[in-house]
């Protein structure tokens, strides 16, 4: 394995992909158990599960595109769009459950006015909770997060595919890199986050630094792995 210019480009692509995943996770509204009980805004599951779900959908979409073409742009685009569809579908059906089954209004207690619609939030927040449901800004933020996650996943998958030419190996390896970055980012968030309007969002530079170091070490070995045979 010789480290020529192309290998360095591949390493850089994997690093950028890992950083996109790490930062993108901060955009996705997750609430864990409190959100499942409609006491907090966000999707009622952990960051890693959501990030993994959207990342895997993105990987599948990117893999499908890669079976047709070697051009990087459509592959990246389909990865990003695949992840966005997954998160949006999750948030939309989650919203239906909140609205029609739980009967919770869409409101956030972290801001006084919705940054997008400008609607007042506090009158709709049930006492003792931090808001319920997924307000508009969470939806937009989640879509941006999924775009970055899916783009990152595809950006990790593409160079791996170009070096080892084995789709299953590349996909599983990409999942490994994806999970490391998603877990590091969710440790930075420590539980719940609503999206880019959440005060915790300001912590993203820490995750950026952490993901940079971790992905660098992973990328250096990832490009040396062959596709077997």
């Amino acid at each position: 394995m010789n480290f020529d210019a192309l290998t360095i480009v591949y390493i850089l692509e994997i690093i950028v992909g890992g950083l996109l995943v790490g930062v993108g996770v901060h955009f996705v509204p997750v609430g864990g158990a409190p959100a499942a009980m409609a006491q907090a805004t966000g999707i009622g599951t952990g960051t890693v599960q959501l990030a993994a779900g959207s990342g895997l959908t993105g990987l599948l979409a990117a893999g499908l595109m890669m079976s047709v073409t070697d051009n990087i742009w459509p592959i990246l685009a389909s990865g990003a769009v695949g992840a966005m569809i997954m998160i949006d579908a999750t948030m939309m059906t989650g919203g239906w459950i909140y609205a029609y089954a739980v009967g919770a209004p869409f409101a956030s207690a972290k801001v006084n006015y919705d940054p997008i619609t400008g609607y007042s939030q506090p009158p709709y927040v049930a006492p003792g909770t931090v808001g319920q449901g997924i307000p508009t800004v969470c939806y937009v933020s989640g879509t941006i997060g999924a775009f970055m996650g899916g783009l990152g996943g595809a950006l990790i998958y593409y160079p791996l595919m170009m070096t080892n030419h084995n789709p299953s190996l590349s996909a599983l390896f990409a999942i490994g890199i994806f999970l490391v970055n998603a877990v590091l980012a969710s440790w930075n968030i420590q539980g719940t986050i609503e999206g880019f309007h959440d005060p915790k969002f300001k912590r993203w530079p820490k995750a950026f630094r952490s993901c940079l170091v971790a992905t660098l070490i992973l990328a250096l070995v990832a490009v040396t792995i062959t596709g077997g045979a």
């Binding site: 394995m1 190996l169 890199i177 990832a222 077997g228």
Partner: protein, 275 residues
């Protein structure tokens, strides 16, 4: 059992150092024993030894999870189990691939273990220094966890492929998609024990026996996969031993749960007026 007349005897804790040697060392011994016996005797029925070694590694991982998560990491226990397998899969494929390129297939397991543990230490250092976790055993815990993840993946993958050669591993475990089963079952064996037992009365022996139980279930799953890749005899040996181990540890775990549970007092049915 009777617990009247004093608290039940507190179980002697197994130190992390001992568990590391038993778990990671046991995994190395199991995998290499399986590889040597299989190749010397020209058979594949010893693959179960590698699967058993992977169970030992998973128990080390489960102990690392309970030590780190005991401090509270704010994201739930499953995330750290996924991290273990994420680090493990990179370490495992790097080790086996490098060993094949160097022409020494047998060294792959050791390369994977060393790389995984170094990477785990670095991630632990990042978590403490950059994220500001300030968990004193974070580096140590993630080193164990990463090594355990890599050993679990290699051990169970060996039980499917019956060979330490990277090319065989790729054709029989990666390309068939069985690695996904190893990934999920292995992840469960590492993350589930503490997730299921956490709380103020969490006891090390109960958590670890739960780990052995879930690990044995993973052996059964791996055995079912190996029906398609190994000889039927080898696959059935793996399935039967896995199922027997699961039953044994299930009974043991049930005994420990009864030991630690609060007393359940029957009060009879509710009176008709209360219904």
């Amino acid at each position: 059992m009777t617990v009247a007349g004093g608290a039940p005897t507190a179980p002697a804790a197994i130190t992390p150092e001992k568990l590391r040697i038993y778990g990671l060392g046991g995994a190395l011994v199991g995998i290499y024993l399986a590889a040597v016996l299989n190749s010397v005797l020209g058979t594949d029925i010893f693959s179960i030894l590698a699967a058993a070694g992977a169970v030992a590694a998973a128990v080390t991982g489960a102990n690392a999870v309970r030590r780190v998560c005991g401090y509270g990491i704010g994201t739930g226990v499953p995330s750290i189990g996924m991290l273990a397998l994420g680090m493990g899969i990179v370490g495992a494929s790097f080790g086996l691939s490098t060993a094949q390129q160097l022409g020494v297939s047998m060294a792959g397991v050791i390369i994977a273990l060393v790389y995984a543990m170094v990477f785990g230490y670095i991630v632990g250092a990042i978590a403490n220094r950059v994220m500001g976790f300030n968990i004193p055993i974070m580096e140590e815990g993630l080193t164990d966890l990463s090594g355990a993840g890599a050993m679990a993946i290699i051990g169970w993958s060996y039980a499917i492929s019956g060979s330490l050669g990277y090319a065989d591993m790729v054709t029989k475990v990666f390309n068939t998609g069985y690695l996904a089963i190893v990934f999920i079952c292995g992840g469960l064996a590492i993350l589930h024990p503490f997730n299921a037992n956490l709380g103020p009365d969490e006891k090390q022996d109960r958590t670890l026996v739960n780990g052995l139980m879930v690990g044995s279930l993973a052996v059964v799953a791996v055995g079912l996969c190996s029906l398609a890749t190994l000889s039927t005899t080898a696959a059935i040996i793996t399935i039967v031993i896995g199922a027997a181990a699961w039953y044994y540890f299930y009974v043991w775990y049930y005994r420990l749960v009864k030991r630690d549970a609060a007393a359940v007092v029957g009060t009879g049915l509710l009176p008709p007026s209360a219904l």
